[in-house]
């Protein structure tokens, strides 16, 4: 009888915790407040686990035993509590080196970053670029080259001065170099090392890094140049609505009137300025590690504006380890760069094989008058009016 009772009690002892695990707040009395099997399993299932019961359990220096008494030398924190404080970044650490992140001994953002960088970032980035090239190839097959409709006049109009073309090519050349070297860095471990081996990739990686770090300054300088030179011509106006409604005349006969830049070009301009600036800022954060931390502050603003909730991201973390700031800077840098690369693919297409006469604008700077009349009719009228007024002014009075 006594034995049966003991067996029942032992069984009940195993059953009770399993009931407790199903509750909203797990009962951790069986483990003395430490994490339970259910906590571990939930984390392994990828569920969000409230870690505050661990991050806050870092001992109590005020309740410490006197220094001379038993266990007194640990200062009120047991070894597990000390390790917890280190793991959750709340330990009071003094380091002999004075690097910006020297006192962060453990941070757990690294694996999340690595998995995202090697997984979705690389995969969807490749899909985006490949998909864009495919769409452009299809567009070329369906629509063909956009030709100059009317008779060519043989007369030329100056569209871009030398300094404008210099700024454009400074931006374009540096962007292509940065794009290629950036892709080589991102796809190094997954694609280039398996294809070419470690030794060959080492040389490529060292060269890529040098180019990417140093050519970035030419990109930033050129970004400022084109903004200053072209912002006036890229302010939205009424002609843009008409241009967009007619789809730029890409699939129809005739061309909607446009000024120096049509609505499509304005979209490219503002994409380059906004995305290029974002890439530059996140790039600077990567170039000067741990010096520019902006993600915790940005996440805080997104939370307070309610945008993170509206986007379904929940409450974003506003306390980030220095390394996590760098991880977010790298991901943001790459994501925005992929988007800008896709846009620039379309820009390169329409400025070269996609449209007859378009390349001259950035090649020699002088475009065929008929091309200009078809694509930028209002601009041609403005140029002609200006020429007429200067020639009138130059004519000596009789």
């Amino acid at each position: 009888m006594y034995r049966s009772l003991m067996a029942l009690l032992i069984c009940l002892a195993f059953v009770t915790p399993s009931h407790a695990q199903e509750a909203a707040t797990p009962d951790r009395s069986a483990t003395g407040g430490a994490q339970t099997l259910e906590d571990i399993l939930a984390r392994q299932r990828g569920e969000e686990v409230d870690n505050s019961f661990r991050s806050n359990a870092t001992g109590d220096p005020d309740g410490a035993a006197a220094i001379a008494s038993q266990l007194g030398t640990l200062g009120g924190a047991s070894d597990p509590e000390l390790w917890r404080a280190l793991r959750f970044g709340s330990a009071n650490i003094t380091a002999s080196n004075d690097g910006p992140a020297a006192t962060t001994l453990i941070q757990d953002g690294g694996m999340r970053w690595l998995t995202f960088r090697q997984g979705p970032l690389a995969t969807y980035g490749a899909y985006l670029l490949g998909g864009t090239l495919l769409v452009l190839a299809l567009f070329y097959l369906i629509r063909g080259r956009i030709r100059i409709d009317g008779e060519k006049t043989g007369r030329k109009i100056t569209r871009f001065k030398a300094v404008e073309r210099f700024g454009h090519w400074l931006l374009a050349g540096s962007f292509i170099l940065l794009g290629v070297t950036g892709l080589m860095t991102l796809f190094g471990r997954k694609v280039l090392i398996p294809a070419f081996g470690h030794d060959a990739f080492s040389t490529l990686a060292v060269g890529s890094k040098w180019i990417h770090n140093n050519v970035s300054w030419a990109f930033m300088l050129a970004l400022v140049m084109i903004f200053v030179m072209w912002v006036v011509h890229n302010l939205p106006d009424r002609t843009d609505i008409n241009w967009l409604l007619k789809g730029g005349g890409i699939f129809s006969k005739g061309h909607p009137p446009a000024k120096k830049f049509n609505a499509g070009q304005k979209l490219i301009f503002w994409s380059v300025i906004v995305l290029g600036t974002s890439i530059s800022v996140s790039g600077l954060a990567l170039l000067f590690p741990f010096e520019i931390n902006m993600f915790a502050a940005t996440f805080g603003k997104l939370n307070s504006l309610g945008m993170s909730g509206a986007l379904g991201l929940g409450e974003l973390r506003t306390s980030l380890a220095p390394h996590e700031e760098m991880q977010y800077a790298q991901l943001w840098h790459a994501i925005v760069s992929f988007v800008l690369m896709a846009i620039i693919f379309a820009h390169i297409y329409i400025g070269s094989v996609g449209m007859e006469g378009a390349y001259d604008a950035m090649g020699t700077g002088d475009v065929e008058e008929q091309w200009a009349r078809e694509h930028h009719s209002i601009w041609v009228e403005e140029v002609e009016a200006e020429q007429a007024s200067t020639s009138k002014a130059a004519t000596p009075a009789e």
Partner: protein
């Protein structure tokens, strides 16, 4: 064409110049992480 080639040369000049300036700017890991009493070279 001349503007394009000039720009490409400018990219190279800026890159080499940036590398020279940045290596002197005191932002290398060794400059940022070690104190004066550490001899690394």
């Amino acid at each position: 064409m001349k503007a394009m080639l000039t720009a490409f040369v400018a990219i190279a000049v800026i890159a080499v110049g940036a590398n020279m300036i940045l290596s002197q700017a005191g932002f290398s890991a060794q400059d940022r992480v070690s104190s004066d009493s550490v001899r690394l070279d």
